[in-house]
Amino acid sequence: MRYLPHTQEEINDMLGVVGVSSLDDLFKPIPDDCCRSNELSFPGPMSEWELNAHMDSLSNDISADPDFKIYLGAGSYEHYIPSFIPYLVGRSEFATAYTPYQPEISQGTLQAIYEYQTLTARLLGMDISNASLYDGAMALAEAMLMAVRVTRRKKIAVSNLIHPHYRRVLQTYFAPTDYEIIELNGKGNGQTELEAIDGMDDLAAVAVQSPNFFGCVEDLQSIAEKAHAQKALLVTCFSEALAYGLFKNPGSLGADIACGEGQSLGIPRSYGGPGLGILACKDKFMRNIPGRLVGQTKDLNGRRGFVLTLATREQHIRREKATSNICTNNSLCAVTAAMYMATLGNKGMQALSRLNYNKTEYLKQSLKNAGANIPFESPTFNEFVVEFPLGFEKKYKGLLDRKIIAGLSLEPYYPEYKSHYLLAVTETKTRKDLDAFVKEVVS
């Protein structure tokens, strides 16, 4: 086996040094009744070429773009990824390193993460960002745990226009605790109704997503004012980070913690993971933020360098008193996102997000003109809800044969929205694609 370098002669020599006579004897400390009574029986070994053929056949058994025209978003977005980005991220000095516990020989990872933290904070209008969490859903859960820690209050109010899967993960994290989750409903315009929090005592935080699950941009400034009037924090969530190339960032509108998913920033969809959990906040919460943080410092000769810092918040020092249990995070995905943000720059972020907006509006208007109902009037970014005539489901299935996936049916998540579909349009769709789509769905 090409990954196992030992020759039989070396094995024999080394066994001699250890003082045992066979490889099996190395396991003598293990009592017999702890050992397997059968041999492993999964398939293999495969040669590299057999493996290629096997994996090619699995990969070919998946419907993906560009062969298919896919209008699914809902937390995972099709964006162009410049080919040099996977090439750079794949450099094995980045990919095959461990968490940078030894800073002198990890400056590459450390500077790259420091730059990620900086660009992320700037994107969201926040003071600081951590080095990454697992995904957007976990980022929301950690943000809310952080909010109850900071405020020492017991209730959290969560918009039901936050991605349903994120809310489900939040529930999982909160299930063993006695904190109370209050759900905030949507309004007719596609934004969150805040009335329920008026006069609510013991409220730690209000969480909303913007753009929300229906693609609508929330009025963060008013929500911030309402939350702050109760001395609660505003936690803003997002599943499409690119929106902040166009829209005002959550920090400038009063958010205390911003959290969400960074997959849009140069990371392939990969059937939902790995993505990038982003968590950023205002300076005053620095010692309560979970996860790794990279900070700037100097070496013995006064040269600029970077280290993991504020480790006293973390599990390996504080154990059960840590701000989180997280250890391994999604570091390489954070580096990928930083590369992507650097590649776009200010100019590219603005232009690309504007393009997403315009193409989405083009489809929205075209569908409207063709007679489809757009139920929510609030501004959207690159996703919106359309109501098709009842029975559209049959057409949806027919379109699959024509290699078009006409978005996501909302009904399984919101039973009241029958025949409502969430459509996503990014820069990857051409006007021709969009015209063909309209023609197909209204025909």
Binding site: Y3, L4, E10, I11, M14, V18, G19, V20, F27, K28, I30, P31, G44, L58, I62, L72, G75, Y80, F84, E93, F94, T96, A97, Y98, T99, E104, Q107, A112, I113, T118, Y134, A137, Y166, V169, A175, G245, P268, S270, Y271, G272, P274, V294, G295, Q296, T297, K298, D299, L300, R303, V307, L310, E320, T328, L332, C333, T343, N346, Q350, Y357, L400
Partner: protein
């Protein structure tokens, strides 16, 4: 320094500023698609000025990250004997497989009949991991070891609740990873510490003395973080089960016992694995990883949803498991990582996977024997995949584990794990893994001996180390005192 041993050398390393210290306003590194639709109006009060990012060209970005990468040490650079982290070689074919367009471009909400290839992979991987651990059912949804632990503790909590109980404590040995108590605390269970005995392992009597009906169970790492097999595990599991508790296995050290130990047979109810350790997926400088959780049959109903099931040769995602702890991830976990581990498992096959553990244990015992007269060996017993030394001998010259670690860099090695486990003062925890060949291991041994000699003859060489990397020792104290987290 003995130049025959030393591989660390100086070379042409570039200085490279921070991203925003480069570039020119108006540059771009991205190929913007044509604007083939009209511009639509938008309420200008909603529009921002775009993030304050530098404007760079493609070449600027490529050079920047190429320079940065050269300041890093990875497994592909050299031996990385970081104990408890299993820094084995990360096969390149795995990268090819995970990047195949069907996988990389798969949208997670595709109609299931259009995602059969990836669902089959998840299903098969779960079956492989069940076989390897000897447990019955598996979820690959947790995205890291600590996420797996949280999943396990939520299963504990839900299991006890299903029996009408809320248990408030959990037994965690003093040798455990810090993630263990932190994960338990997230589930509002109070960790109760238990000390290992003079041989570095757990004593059934000590467990019996603290196990009670308010204790949810025990978290055991086996082999433990001293690299020793917990020989009394069956008796301990019996005690815990006798009081209605469950046994959690931290499988971070599974690389030692694949094809050898049956985790079900030794009494483990719930076990997490680390695909980014045992199953060769690259660690990425801190993730992404994957922390699958394997359980015995009676705990299967509690596994997170959705689950991948097989029905009439078709694969499907199902959520109708009313006792499930719920979702842990927005979608199904780190599929890109699963693909690499799956490729590794199929490349190895059953026989080679067992050989992995045999050679990992051989390498560790070989290092232990060769170095135990140079460095104090905390527990002089046959070890599994790692061995733990300390700086006890070097302390006579006021040389600490940190100094030894930093000096090893000058010889061209990544240092071992240091100051962990906490039960050994000044611990130096060495895990060579099976993919290191004998010459490299011998060179590591010689480097450790050379450093020990320097500690006696010229200790300042260690105190001032490292001198070969781009930077010398970094001031971590002032970094924490006056944090500067963004530029």
């Amino acid at each position: 320094m003995n130049d025959n041993i030393k591989q660390g050398a100086t070379g042409l390393i570039m200085n490279e500023p921070l991203l925003w210290e480069k570039g020119k306003k108006g540059r771009i590194g991205f190929s913007l698609p044509e604007a083939d639709v009209d511009a639509y109006p938008l309420d200008e009060s909603l529009v921002g000025h775009g993030p304050d990012f530098p404007d760079l060209s493609e070449v600027d970005v490529v050079r920047h990250y190429t320079c940065l990468s050269q300041w890093n040490f990875g497994v592909d650079t050299g031996m990385y004997p970081l104990g408890s982290c299993t820094m084995k070689y990360n096969p390149k074919t795995n990268e090819r497989q995970a990047a195949l367009p069907g996988f990389a471009n798969a949208h997670p909400l595709l109609p299931q009949e259009m995602a059969q290839g990836v669902l089959k992979m998840i299903y098969d991987l779960e079956r492989c991991l069940a076989d390897i651990t000897g447990l019955d059912a598996v979820t690959v949804q947790p995205t890291a070891g600590a996420h797996g632990e949280l999943c396990g503790m939520l299963i504990f909590d839900s299991y006890h609740k299903s029996r009408g109980e809320k248990r408030s404590k959990i037994i965690v040995p003093d040798t455990a990873h810090g993630t263990n108590p932190a994960s338990a605390a997230l589930c509002e269970m109070k960790p109760v510490a238990v000390k290992s005995n003079e041989n570095g392992i757990l004593e059934p009597e000590r467990i019996a003395a603290i196990m009670d009906e308010d204790t949810a169970g025990i978290m055991v790492t086996n082999p433990n973080t001293l690299g020793l097999f917990e020989e009394n595990i069956k008796a301990i599991a019996g005690i815990v089960h006798g009081k209605g508790g469950l046994v959690y296995g931290d499988g971070a050290n599974m690389n030692a016992v694949m094809g050898i130990v049956d985790m079900g047979r030794i009494g483990i109810d719930v076990l997490h694995l680390n695909l980014h350790k045992t199953f060769s997926t690259p660690h990425g400088g801190g993730g992404p990883g994957t922390g699958p959780v394997c359980v015995k049959k009676h705990l299967e109903p509690f596994l997170p949803i959705p689950r991948v099931i097989k029905q009439d040769e078709m694969y499907a995602l199902r959520e109708d498991f009313p006792q499930s702890i719920g979702r842990l991830h927005a979608f199904y976990g780190n599929v890109g990582v699963m693909l690499k581990a799956y490729s590794y498992i199929l490349s190895m096959g059953p026989e080679n996977l067992k050989k992995v553990s045999q050679l990992a244990v051989l390498n560790a015992n070989y290092i232990k024997e060769k170095l135990k007269s140079t460095f104090h060996l905390a527990y002089d017993r046959p070890c599994m995949h790692e061995c733990v030394f300390s700086d006890k001998i070097q302390q006579a010259n006021k040389i600490s584990t940190l100094d030894v670690a930093k000096r090893l860099m000058d010889y061209g090695f990544h240092p071992p794990t240091i100051y962990f486990p906490l039960v050994v003062n000044g611990a130096i925890m060495v895990e060579p893994t099976e993919t290191e060949c004998r010459e490299d291991i011998d060179r590591f041994i010689e480097a450790m001996k050379a450093v020990a000699k320097e500690a006696e003859q010229n200790p300042d060489l260690l105190r001032n180390a490292p001198v070969t990397p781009k930077l010398n020792r970094l001031d971590e104290t002032s970094a924490a005192r006056k944090p500067c987290l963004t530029g």
